[in-house]
Amino acid sequence: MAKVDFKVPELKQYAEIPAVTPETMAHSRPFVAKPEFQEPLGFPGALADDWQERAIAKMGDLLSRYRSLRVYLDSCVKCGSCTDKCHYYLGTQDPKNMPVGRQDLMRKVYRRYFTLAGKFFPKLVGAEDFTREVLDDWYSYYHQCSQCRRCSVFCPYGIDTAEISMAAREIMDHIGVGQKYCNEIIGKVFKIGNNLGLPGPALQDTLEGLEEDVLDDTGVAVKYPLDQVGAEILLVTPSADFFAEPHVDGLVGYGKVFHEAGVSWTLSSYASEAANFGMFIGSYENMRRVAQRIREAAIDLKVKRIVFGECGHAWRVAYSFLNTLAGPWDFLDPRYPVPQHICEFTHGLMQEGKLTFDKSQNDDKVLTYHDSCNVARASRMGSVPGGQFDIPRAIIRATCNHFYDMDEETIRERTFCCGGGGGLLTDDLMELRVKGARPRVEALNNVMQEKGVTHMAAICAICKSQFTKVLPFYGMEMDQIVSLHQLVSNAIVLTPGDDDELEDDEEDEEAA
């Protein structure tokens, strides 16, 4: 655990709304991107003298292209409903982390330059010039929003602060003040194909290693194919699944499910990343460029279906935006939604009775489930609204004997962000991440005390990495967070394939 130069919040039994304490997080700001990370994305390398003019021009451009931005900047009545809904406010007490406080940082500039009231009576309506100080505040606080949309659930007009954070980051990128973490990563996707910069041969190695491990463990030859032209399914998964714990156990699980389904599938070394950080920086153009890689891979590999692995924001981009950004998908099999979530796939097989589970394999755990914000509030699974809550839970119930939900106020559409979403999963924001995780960890702690929960399952690469890192700050173990398909992987009873040797076969049956 890294050295801590801040106070880790105390966990309480009942959620408390803290008192407003201004500027507690004014110092929190991620590293600024160097020119070499800005330019590949089409952004200027550094702040120019006329930055203010350019920023206002960009704001005007976005106002004319995004109805959300225009309507949300106009509509807030300062009712206060959202003020206690953001995990960053709850964890830091900084009023600029209240959703409306965050919006107002942009609203005051909007009013000054784009409304009559702000031009003539700036003091009255809280309009302000876009000064260097305001820009500094933007950089701090628009990088303290994980774009989780919890605020939008409770706002009478559905004002989504994520939309405003995205626009702010887009404006800042266009004047040369980008965030290093996001922009460097997007550059890697363009150059190598994934966020982690893993080249094709490294992926091949990893996947072969997985095949060996699974064979050793189960005696069944489960395949983890890469770049297999003509496979039926293209699996697009976050690159963390290739090596990080507990992510990789999820990938093992996907392979086992495909094996049981008896379908051919493949990963792509070209589109070896489900994540799309273009969304975090609010850049339609970059998000589209990243998404197009999936289209190209699907065409090149001649697949019929696309399935996404466990990742929250990736599923938002996939479910909600992929058709827009990289469609139409008329060359794929029209009998299946494009794309599908791996949970939809697994759940579908369960319904058809094609999967057999030995739940006792997970008896060493008592589970709870963390709804990832982008899955919960920005997408869906299955054919009815709310499937994104019920399908993962149905899978857990089918694979585990012990499952308890956390407090109703902290799950489903009201779920709390892990604290690391929205492009904030970087070490230079550790204090923010730890403090922002508090509401979620508090709810987890309560079910641990009350129900004896030992593990929390998640279906998001960012959530998994974030919890692995921050749980120890709260005195918990990093391996208390598990992949949902890790549970599937543990419980699934594999059917030996034709090429499995007889002795393996027997061993498997004995084990079962």
Binding site: V20, P22, S64, R65, Y66, R67, S68, R70, V71, Y72, D74, S75, C76, V77, K78, C79, G80, S81, T83, P95, M98, V100, G101, D104, T115, L116, A117, K123, L124, V125, G126, R149, S152, V153, F154, C155, P156, Y157, G158, D160, E163, Y284, R288, Y319, S320, F321, N323, T324, G327, P328, P337, V338, R377, A378, R380, V384, P385, G386, F389, E413
Partner: protein
């Protein structure tokens, strides 16, 4: 014709013009601005009729606000519902003969007026007492509450304390509608009440009162959750597709 009558007639023509033109301009601006991505806050209805229902629940019941904060919901809803009744009650000044439902609603309009003031005072109290709401409240928010409370109180005073010649008031407003200006009684309370209403009409399109049209254009609320079934592409985004 008295100076007061001419002044108030002109004021109301001006206020009506500003309100209508300003709102129309805003609505056109909202409608013309594309929403390039599907961003409904989920779980969301999957069909257009489902969206209409969701929107109706937001407009009539303030569903999201109810989820968010029961006090704000209570005061906010009381105020808006009161305002709605008051508005219906005031329709009698503009139509002749008065429609039956409007005639029936008259007594409720008075309760509406009281409810309106109670709701507003509750909301105002929160602005002062709750530290988070105090932090986000600016001068314009206090002014807006002051304006609305003054309109409500001056109106109620004319009902309960200092009566005015409502028949003449009706003549005046009927006259405005038919472009034959009739004299307006010059009771100070009435003049104050009407002045404040005109001010409200004028500031409407330039203030946070835009939340009224805004709600209907909010993409997180008015979009159906069907992105996989239906491709959604904005005009400006189509141009990106033309490029290789």
């Amino acid at each position: 014709m008295s100076f007061v009558t001419v002044a108030y007639a002109s004021l109301f023509y001006l206020a009506a013009a500003v309100l209508l033109a300003g709102l129309a301009a805003k609505v056109v601006q909202y409608a013309r601005t594309p929403a390039p991505l599907k961003i409904p806050t989920t779980p969301a209805p999957t069909t257009q009729s489902g969206v209409v229902l969701r929107m109706a629940r937001e407009v009539v019941l303030f569903e999201s606000l109810f989820k968010g904060n029961k006090w704000i919901w209570l005061f906010g809803w009381i105020f808006h519902f009161g305002l709605f009744l008051v508005t219906l009650r005031h329709l009698r000044y503009f139509i002749e003969p008065v429609w039956l439902p409007i005639a029936l609603i008259q007594p409720f309009g008075i309760y509406g007026g009281m409810a309106m003031v109670v709701g507003l005072l509750g909301l105002w109290a929160r602005r002062i007492l709750v530290d988070r709401v105090r932090y986000i409240t600016g001068p314009s928010d206090h002014l807006m509450l002051g304006l609305l409370v003054s309109i409500g109180v001056s109106g109620l005073m004319m009902t309960f304390v200092v009566h005015t010649d409502v028949v003449a008031v009706k003549e005046f407003f009927r006259g405005l509608v038919t472009f034959q200006v009739a004299p307006l009684p010059s009771d100070p309370l009435l003049l104050l009440h009407l002045l404040l209403v005109a001010v409200l009409m004028i500031v409407f399109p330039f203030s946070k009162l835009l939340h009224a049209p805004g709600l209907f254009f909010s993409p997180t609320r008015n979009q159906a959750d069907n992105p996989r079934e239906k491709r959604h592409v904005a005009e400006w985004a189509k141009r990106l597709e033309q490029q290789p």
